[in-house]
Symmetry: D2
Subunit: 458 residues, 4 copies
């Protein structure tokens, strides 16, 4: 998230981070500048934790700001990994906000260390900062392009240096990134829901391989690399993005409904009602209901207050983790044959407990329908999936999973139906988590920094 | 919320308070005991704020515990008003957790002050503690009954003293209160969703005018007063209770769906889709959709992270307060004639902004349907409505409200249809907020304690 | 500490509490008022912890304020015991700040409980609030006098109610209390060092048995009880008060020097240097040095940062508790025969470790001189001594104590020399801790409230 | 502060940091390791603030640890400047704890930035980390020596990398650094008072230009540079070090007493008593008293609780800043001719207020004696003096200063007498603050990093 050209730049980034909170809950931060003085505030936790009062925003003066919600995929959860990363270079203070994952960061890091570089964080963003600072190119725009040509992976990045903001997206276009306008200010954000909240108009997506420079002169665009045939993350449509966003040039809710409809076509069920696992599966469940002519019901109530409930060790084994989050509605489920629409299954542990709760509430049959194919491989481009061993579909057949979940029938959406649900005008998709075919080379063994307990008190 | 007879009593009350968080967000607290030693932890904010780690629960030892989520209706928000209230009496430490509102507390308080009593809080619960401590009756059970016969209003109360727990409900049965069982432990809670979460079985409601005493011998029940013809709060069904709870012997979600269906019958609309204002109106909207044969759509996305967003003074006038909470889904609303189902209208300010947002997202017509009658009078029995002057339906006609909201049509559910939607086997309802007819005498002018800024640091 | 008649009343009380911090470190608090609105802020810990920023003072508006540093002698350390205590009575909000200890509070409390009173704290101050509120007397001044006539013990109290402040001192005059003036404002404080800090002029002491009422009309004084022959706490002179204060009409530092001189006369030592246990014994050590013609040296350095050091369990047995607080200066002690002047010995554990440290630093002889007699009995009038069993002089002879401490010689000041060191113009002294003769009847078994872990979060 | 070879290494560093708290109050931190896993905890404030409970120490496992109390001289006060600095290099995690100031850090930093290095802090310690990481030398020992040969200034440094600890001191020996032993563990600390506290034995000082490596094999020593003729900071003796420490092979208290004696010889006074400005001038005042035969008195009481008192804007002009810290003892000062011994005068503002307070307490004459020469030049080797313009002796003559202070006579110790008071066996001293002659080349204009408000929340 970045804004150039608004007197309340940091405040609007703050609101935008709220809208994008679903993309990362580990830490949040904003760096602002008036072109001369740079201000920073970062911290652990939700946006509301890091910015508990307006005073924290007021010190972030200037007409430019970039912000970040961190969602840990590499590196430890230490505060030192919080973003935006801010470093001093010969060209001035450089602030970087990075969404995604560099897939060759280990190699580049080892190279840099051997050259004598020091690292203070474990995030791959610091690798990028080093590459920019070390580039021999003439100006900062060229240096950034030079640095990007030395990294691989998935990244949607905003940077602030001197009097300008840069936005860039990897040549495969894995993560979304869009450009908007509010009065005279330009905004860059991962999803359009951030533009909606602050009342900005959507202009277009940042293109794969494009770098956009925003200054007082306006926007300069160039390709720092040719786009590939495209490997947009299909899982953004399935689960990660907000349904009210438009990403990759398409409304997320429209795709999710199509997923639900295709799921109903592929795997209908002899049942009485359709329920969703709220809130991420709601749209797909409505789609399933519409196509199958089964009634959509609110069979599970989600408790939105749970945040940080802790479960006592003695009770851990008894499904309390799921019960504090979801409560089945007995009046709806009792005596019914129920279709449960879920967007995806990772480990299967939560869904297994949910099936049990639904049966305890009186459902006579439970039919699980998943609006995506089985996840069999981890993501190295920015999704925080567990290791292969923990992915249930990597270990068990569909029938074994059905038994594990304890449902009567289980169907996953086919890859064909998935691809039929998403738009194809623009370019292709990365479906590595379903196929194990990685379009961008990866270093599976990502090294961890050696210190384990690292904390800072303010 | 109270538990008698479980080694992890405080932990289960903690979980129950999570389930009941919607009933009060101002402060939370638990008092536990083993019959000899009493332990207390209370604080401001959500359950998760007050109990940030298991350590706070672990000190709450004992097989008995009562808990409370405070929802401010009388008294200031000072920490000293946090519940459970704990006082020392000649009979030992008495802890009280009180849901509802005593409608004659001002009078009784003045009487007690004139008798020489001192008050350290501004809550009406302290009035009750004084009455119990001063009662000349022989035993604690009799003293409580004696005290209750001197107060009027709405109350569902749990108390802990010595080795026993008491639960009681006012003779009008205004607020819900239910009794459950888990293994050998008895549980008392405002709503059954708390029983569900901790895996307890619902036994029955505590009856109007009933006092239940729970000891090692089990349960003793008696009527401290004859029940009236009954004045159960009908607004619990409309909005306040959770849809997955059973209150007043009926599933809340079932009533809400009936409200939606009756609303569709009374005021159909020429429209394309039905949307709800999530989450409280979801069930009524599904009911409306089912009866009207209009498609139910997820047209508004609610951001559940917002908690404590602050809006900058410059932006306050521009609807940001609503926008950080709700985002319309353009792909669904664009070009559509939309029915918006809302459970109730208090001031109308939020709904007005929502109508505007929905139109900005492209809706061609907006038809508001409210699943309750106009609210014209404040509540003195525990709902935190504003003054008469701020209640929009007290000031404007339905047509004036429609103009204010900016919608094409507006319909409220009729009182007849409302009463048709709720069960009548048991007893009657309080509908004072819709009719202005108060079934229990009230002192409208409730005095406030004199200190204004009162805070305590730990 | 109380101020009447200054626009920055709370701020000056805050400064005064700093000056009086040595009288209590458990909690601090201020209540202010403009005669109509009452404001309160209390919390656990030092003044600096409770008032970390000016904002906490700014809300304490009004021209009247009373404050308190709590030093736990009765009751638990719970926040609910923090003072000033604030209660609502028929006469308005009453705030009480109490220094001392009521010696019959248990009896009065049981009486009040049997009359139906409830208690929310375990402090004896609440007993006083009940007595005032229940008094049948005509006006508040009379009610306070009536209440005081029903309690016994040591107390120096300030109260605020309506538009006036009251200050009162027990008939025995056990604790100090003085009256001062700054411009048009009146100030009441335990010691004159608080007057000095805020630039106020000392007028006189509040007399034993006197109640002073401060209003816009000025000061009204009356005796609510006849003073006894006087039992001023002699330990205030020996240790508790600050050396730069004047109490009981005499400079503390002057008395302490006299104690040191008399000690040198009574028990000279064949030695090279005199050192003190800083800082409380500095003045007596200077007096000893002056009279004995032994050189005064700074042989122990005190670390003033230690505050809250924790000692690991493995190291607890190895004197670390004393070592983090004091470091001997080897260059001064090496090869010397050392007189160590200490103001008093309670348990003896710290002094024993100090003697060891002094020897390790090279002292060839260690002669301990104590500027007070052996403490053989606990205090029930406000000093936090341990039980009789823990008082070393109650258990051992002087020679046994010398052996325990490991010093070459040990001498305590005699009672005669002690009494010779203090002024006698005014009235007598309480020397109960040295004699076991209690001038005011006491209930040795002071009941504790039943709850053990009680905490409140803000 | 560093320890090698103790199972409770971090705990002893924690105690040592307490003993050394006077050397820095801005931030504190410890890094520990078992040779494989590195643990870190740093934070703002005093040791007691950063380590409020044993849990923060317990996570710092391992038999090696280094710690730091930061005292800001360069760089902002941001948490990112807290030490120890921890960076990852090709040789593993390197932790550095640095006392002193590099006088050519700006030049080296600009060189490194031009080479493409990035900086995340504004401290000169990061410069050193870059130099070590970039060194082409074969092993880590050589790399450190190589790096040190590229920096100038004053530094006493401990480092931890892999399984070893390094300690080093600049060739001029400006700051103290000593080596100790406790059982089988080696300890390195700035002052011996840290050794005393943990019960370690003093072995010797780390020599100027020496680097010591501590491993399982024991100690390896080498000179990375030849020592100069020596420029030990004479101000350590005058003010900075603790009187119970031995630095530069001499007891600090012995030197301070000599300073006081020489001061009495050079500038006797016709007076009645000698008082000190506690606590830093106590020893010199005792020395003055001894030589002059004037009585040493405790005329000023210091309040050790003040920590973070705030002064209201309205009261700022009225000396409250000094009054909360010091209270004059009227009984001692009244009618007396008073010699006030102060160790040094920087701006003179505090002393001016003290003189006023002493006069208000009744002193008839005030004679100020300063146990060091006039400070006319800032320090670039680690003392936090203000700019030249703020140093009163740089702007005014002694007579002008006397008038400003409002005292009757004023004498500074001469340079000759100062040099006569300190030992000369070993090497020379830096007296730049008194002479303006800097023995090590300095860059007076030290650049500040560009961000101003930078904070991190945990």
């Amino acid at each position: 998230m970045a804004i150039w050209g608004h007197p309340e730049a940091a405040y609007f980034v703050y609101l935008g981070l709220y809208a994008l909170q679903h993309r990362g809950q580990e830490s949040a931060g904003i760096v602002s500048s008036d072109g001369l003085h740079v201000h920073k505030h970062v911290g652990r936790g939700l946006v509301a934790d890091v910015f508990p009062d307006p005073g924290r925003i007021e010190i972030l003066k200037g007409h430019m700001a970039i912000g970040h919600n961190r969602y840990s995929t590499t590196g430890s959860t230490s505060i030192t990994n919080s973003q935006p990363l801010m470093v001093n270079t010969r060209d001035g203070v450089l602030a970087i906000s990075h969404n995604g994952n560099l897939s060759n960061s280990g190699t580049v890091r080892r190279f840099l260390e051997n050259e004598g570089s020091i690292f203070q964080t474990t995030s791959d963003t610091e690798v990028l900062a080093h590459l920019i600072a070390r580039s021999k190119k003439a100006d900062i725009h060229e240096k950034i392009a030079d640095a990007l040509n030395n990294v691989q992976g998935a990244y949607s990045i905003t940077m602030m240096i001197q009097d300008r903001i840069f936005a860039m997206r990897d040549p495969d276009g894995v993560r979304p990134l869009c450009l908007g306008k509010k009065d005279d200010a330009f905004i860059v954000a991962s999803e359009t829901c951030a533009l909606d909240l602050i009342g900005a108009e959507y202009i277009r997506d940042v293109n794969p391989g494009e770098i956009i420079e925003i200054t007082v002169q306006g926007i300069i665009s160039r390709q720092f690399a040719l786009p590939t045939k495209g490997h947009r993350c299909i899982f953004e449509f399935i689960y990660f993005a907000r349904p009210d966003s438009k990403i990759f040039n398409e409304n997320v809710d429209k795709v999710r409904r199509k997923l639900g409809k295709n799921l109903a076509l592929e795997s209908p069920a002899e049942a009485d009602i359709v329920i969703s696992v709220p809130d991420s599966s709601n749209t797909a469940a409505v789609g399933y209901s519409r196509r199958s002519d089964l009634k959509y019901e609110l069979g599970l109530i989600r408790n939105h207050y749970i945040g940080r409930t802790f479960i006592s060790p003695q009770q851990k084994m008894r499904d309390f983790g799921v019960k504090v989050k979801f409560n089945p509605v007995r009046g709806i489920l009792q005596g019914r044959r129920v279709v449960v629409v879920e967007d995806s299954i990772v480990r299967g542990t939560t869904l297994r407990q949910l099936v049990k709760l639904i049966r305890q509430a009186g459902a006579v049959e439970v039919h699980v329908r998943v609006s995506s194919p089985p996840i069999i491989a981890p993501c190295f481009y920015g999704m925080d999936f567990p290791s292969r061993e923990e992915l249930i579909a990597n270990q068990k057949s569909v029938e074994e999973i059905r038994k594990y979940l304890g449902c009567d029938t289980l169907h996953y959406l086919s890859m064909e139906a998935l691809l039929d649900s998403v738009p194809h005008e623009e370019s292709g998709y990365c479906t590595a988590c379903f196929s194990g075919q990685y379009p961008i080379a990866v270093e599976e063994q990502i090294g961890k920094f050696q210190h384990e307990h690292s904390a800072q008190v303010v």
